[in-house]
Symmetry: C4
Subunit: 392 residues, 4 copies
Amino acid sequence: MTTPFANFQYEIYLAGLAGTVPELPTDLTQLEAHAQAAMTPEAFGYVAGGAGSEDTMRANLAAFRRWRIVPRMLRDVGERNLATTVLGTALPAPVLLAPVGVLSIVHAEAELAVARAAAGLGVPLVLSTAASTTLEDVAAAMGDTPRWFQLYWPKDADVTASLLARAEAAGYGAVVVTLDTWLLGWRPRDLRTAYLPFLRAEGIANYLSDPAFRAGLAAPPEEDRNAAIGHFLGMFSDPTVTWDSLAALRERTRLPIVLKGILHPDDARRAIDAGVDAVLVSNHGGRQVDGAVAALDALPRVVAAVDDGLPVLFDSGVRSGADVAKALALGARAVLLGRPYVYGLALAGEVGVRHVLRCLLAELDLTMALSGRTSVAQLNAELLVPAEDVSR
Amino acid sequence: MTTPFANFQYEIYLAGLAGTVPELPTDLTQLEAHAQAAMTPEAFGYVAGGAGSEDTMRANLAAFRRWRIVPRMLRDVGERNLATTVLGTALPAPVLLAPVGVLSIVHAEAELAVARAAAGLGVPLVLSTAASTTLEDVAAAMGDTPRWFQLYWPKDADVTASLLARAEAAGYGAVVVTLDTWLLGWRPRDLRTAYLPFLRAEGIANYLSDPAFRAGLAAPPEEDRNAAIGHFLGMFSDPTVTWDSLAALRERTRLPIVLKGILHPDDARRAIDAGVDAVLVSNHGGRQVDGAVAALDALPRVVAAVDDGLPVLFDSGVRSGADVAKALALGARAVLLGRPYVYGLALAGEVGVRHVLRCLLAELDLTMALSGRTSVAQLNAELLVPAEDVSR
Amino acid sequence: MTTPFANFQYEIYLAGLAGTVPELPTDLTQLEAHAQAAMTPEAFGYVAGGAGSEDTMRANLAAFRRWRIVPRMLRDVGERNLATTVLGTALPAPVLLAPVGVLSIVHAEAELAVARAAAGLGVPLVLSTAASTTLEDVAAAMGDTPRWFQLYWPKDADVTASLLARAEAAGYGAVVVTLDTWLLGWRPRDLRTAYLPFLRAEGIANYLSDPAFRAGLAAPPEEDRNAAIGHFLGMFSDPTVTWDSLAALRERTRLPIVLKGILHPDDARRAIDAGVDAVLVSNHGGRQVDGAVAALDALPRVVAAVDDGLPVLFDSGVRSGADVAKALALGARAVLLGRPYVYGLALAGEVGVRHVLRCLLAELDLTMALSGRTSVAQLNAELLVPAEDVSR
Amino acid sequence: MTTPFANFQYEIYLAGLAGTVPELPTDLTQLEAHAQAAMTPEAFGYVAGGAGSEDTMRANLAAFRRWRIVPRMLRDVGERNLATTVLGTALPAPVLLAPVGVLSIVHAEAELAVARAAAGLGVPLVLSTAASTTLEDVAAAMGDTPRWFQLYWPKDADVTASLLARAEAAGYGAVVVTLDTWLLGWRPRDLRTAYLPFLRAEGIANYLSDPAFRAGLAAPPEEDRNAAIGHFLGMFSDPTVTWDSLAALRERTRLPIVLKGILHPDDARRAIDAGVDAVLVSNHGGRQVDGAVAALDALPRVVAAVDDGLPVLFDSGVRSGADVAKALALGARAVLLGRPYVYGLALAGEVGVRHVLRCLLAELDLTMALSGRTSVAQLNAELLVPAEDVSR
């Protein structure tokens, strides 16, 4: 056993012998259907839903089907090493947990359960600005395990500075700036029930606990909660931000900056010019622009554009270890996992998140081993052929 | 908020806080299923149905899925402007309401409800010749809001002249000549119930109120309705009309002329030669020729053929703001919305039409903003990539 | 109204006004579902079924979806002419009824009902060797309407000669030699119920009535039916027949010879060399070789190969007037309609066959008119574009 | 009748006349649905399931749909010969039974029933190392019929040598070394029930009866079964095996060696260099690497790479005679049939396996005959065209 992720399947079979059979699905594409029963309709709609007709959400998944792995045989795969390093952060596997806001709507232990599960496996969490737990509490729960902080860039410079300072102080290793959510997308599942958790103060813990934010309030949020929510809504995001604005952010933090939401090669090139440290190819899981390009289809174009000038990360559509392998083969340095771990959280709290991660990483380990690869560096373009290429 | 269409999603969420949750779908692709329950089977079949096996109707929708939006990041999108001008008509957004006949079968207030909803948002209505309300009554309901008149070119020159004169007098700003319906298509849903509303005098209000038409009757329609219907049926449409016939029409009105139903590039070139003012790429929503090319597939070929010689409009398959953006990116100056607003009418009258328009335009505004575009002029070829291009 | 097929839709609407609404489907793609309830499970399986997994049967239909009609506007289509001529046979429209055996399993009046319906519209019937009615009785029922005779080439030269002589005497205008059924295909629907109607003497009327066949029997079939069936089975078809054998057939009849079942361009070229008069591109409706090329996909290759050296006919997959137009545009001189008329027969006998034909031809007339074509000669390559061509 | 496989369809129809109608499906694509009811949920999941989301399992089947047979006409197909020779083994048809382990979970007679059915038709069985019957008992049941032995290469050299020696002694004609299962794939259907039959000593009959294996045990398996299972699990497979290791295997047996699981052309070339005797293109029926290339898509690339240097065999996705013909046309010398015969076993034991084989081979015989081919050598590249080639 070369990593904590190897041979999980044998553990399950042996547990079965002892009468302990796992109740959580091991095919992560079936997680959503299982999780629905464990969630309120509003929370399920919020997590599972996408923008508009959800065409991009479906396209994200379909794009993975258009690439096929060609395994190689008779290579010594007795020892595999899934480890990699991104922006100075050592990862046990090329996977991070994506920022997802307001996990309190999914499970009472919310981000703390996620943080503990991630820490248990050494997998970094990218904590959302819109978490329902403060970044300090999450940091405490993670101990030595690396974490990054995702930033919805507030309109208020003081709050921005305060959030960044807190993230630095709490040991977050990078800041992931989300570029695609200056306005909330058109999300019919939420619109149907008019469900926006932020309006109920869920997901603004980082604001309520922030000195700069509190300084802008006439009364403490404990006394006038609605005013605090209103103040938050007014500063949540600034659609006038441009590439020039990045310089200010660059000066305001010593942390590496990751730009999340890059889909166009020209934007990737601009990111290099802007002096950021990485780009993250993502369409926000199909939650923002319905009709947007599948994230995986955008990935190789972005990778070609940056031409090793920056590490390229990836999210939007990862549902299996094979998906991780494909994204890496197309040039991603690491991927972020989103909805699946949230479903694990909904189903079984910390245990569920851990289960989902172990399934994903065990399947990645097997995909590598059975394809004749022993390190993530070997997950390169030679791993894949386009589907249906033969008869064309 | 830069337009009346921006940020509608926040309004809905806030309304939800106040306990007022919208009952109408906000994913317009789900409108049809909702509307079916609110309509008679005959009316639903008439509106929802298409020609033959409805293959072209399905192809119209599928064609949009083959183009993907590539959003750009970090552009200042704080202010967007959806306005445009077509044939001298200023539009608040690149959308008009398509001509749909006999709306009395859908809702008691019929075209008047549509006219009021359109006027409330400043969106032009293209009134059908076959409306169940006279063009004068619709004009009165619209006030200062622009409107166009759609013409099913009658065989009788006097009636043609009279209709055009009335449209001019009532302030209609253009005449849209439908070219693809000289004969009624083969529509199995209607044939099954032998449902042709015109046979019941619905949809011939413009004829019954027309002096030239009445002059051709032996008795006033109030006295011999069946004779009036028969007279209407005999003159409804003239399949012998050719490009040469257009010259006569051109002389008969001072209004700009739009040719509706252009699908072939050569016909678009002939339209320029014929001196008309615009072409409208359309296959009548898949209601005329089953097996016809998807309208969106025809669009870029027509646009290339006219080469800026004429504005190109588009209908047939638009179901979302993303669809509007795609059609514009492929060269349409504006699009016409058909079935969705009729379903809105069926569900909630004027309120329903208004809801559908606001959803569509809010989604368009968001699609623009989140794609880094601030004006409709920026919805050009750079917005899109073909789907599945990467792995081929 | 330019043909007996034009404007059928208006007749139906007017009949509806009079309270007479048609009960038969007018979307012929829905005929099969309707007909199932009117047929025994065995007969339905026999007609609806195909070879193996029925993959080719499905491919036949799907191939039509890959071509799209591009209508032309503003041409005078007031008068259309669907007539054409094939092998000296004048057809009111480019459609014949395909040979289908043993129609007695579908309706008591069997081929006679079909013959009367066909004759009523002037549409030729290609009578199957395996009809349950003698070719003389069918000829009598058709009067002056043209008919052709389909030949399953018996192993017995005398019977072959006798059948051909009878067909000539009864006024059949061509002989259609089926090349793809020397052995019966693997048909799971029939194998499940072990249903082979010939074993019950259904479909061998032409043999039982044949003097050369009867001469080979020890006792008349009226006395020993099983022996007659056995004798039939032994001579039904000869898999050793080759191109050389055609010379003998060519000498044995003065009728034009059509080779049915050509799918490969080289076979089409050999057909020219062999001196036959036409080829019929067909995969037997997907009933013989599962996995075979869709007939419509084979059509343009065969047309290119014969290069006007022979007329090319087509069957396998035609379900609508649009399908007829597409096959003609791809080079077919005329098409044969199969299963749909059998379903019409099952549903309503002669009336049902007539209904199906009128629907098909009315839709063809409308497809032509609304596409700007007035004659079948205008249904050429310019009518079509490949589907999905734009975004590739 | 030229082979024992010809004209099976007529036998069934005649049996129907006698009142004996087959109850087993003759469309082998429907076998799985029928078999499910005859199996325990665990056994069905084990046989029917694949790796991960089963995407590769579906892709295996879909790949066959992208090739189409173009039948040729008027060739003498009265006599067909399906026979071929592979590695000195004479086959009555280009089909072998694939190695499938632990058939005792499917039917009480397990591999013996399969062996008898195979022997009855002269079709070779490739016996799995993981059979629930010893290789000697299977050999006895097969008599003179050829059989091959599949090897999961144990970590223990003595056991490897012993198994090979036993196979040679029992008349197995080749050894098929499986390369793609050094670790068990991620199989959610089995993980859900923690079902691994080997843990219950099913499927290790060849080990329990092996002197070298028993010599490594502290106590005979009859006394300490769990220790025996543990010992088996520890030596089942060695993921450190490389191309170099093959030399040792090559020296250890005089039997021809087939490498099973080759998917990449470079691995096929290395197989030639390694001096093995054949390669078998396979992705283990989609059971090992989810996301792997469809086996049929890999086949022509491997065939091109070996360039007649080695025979290429094929499995993964064969469900019909047409599939066999397609694989041969793409360069396979013979194919191995897997799941379908296991379903036949589940449904009716030896009779079921025989039925499945007869259906498959009868359909292959018909596919050849009706395509104008009389020998397997004629199943070459000229048989096929890519699907959908015409309109592109």
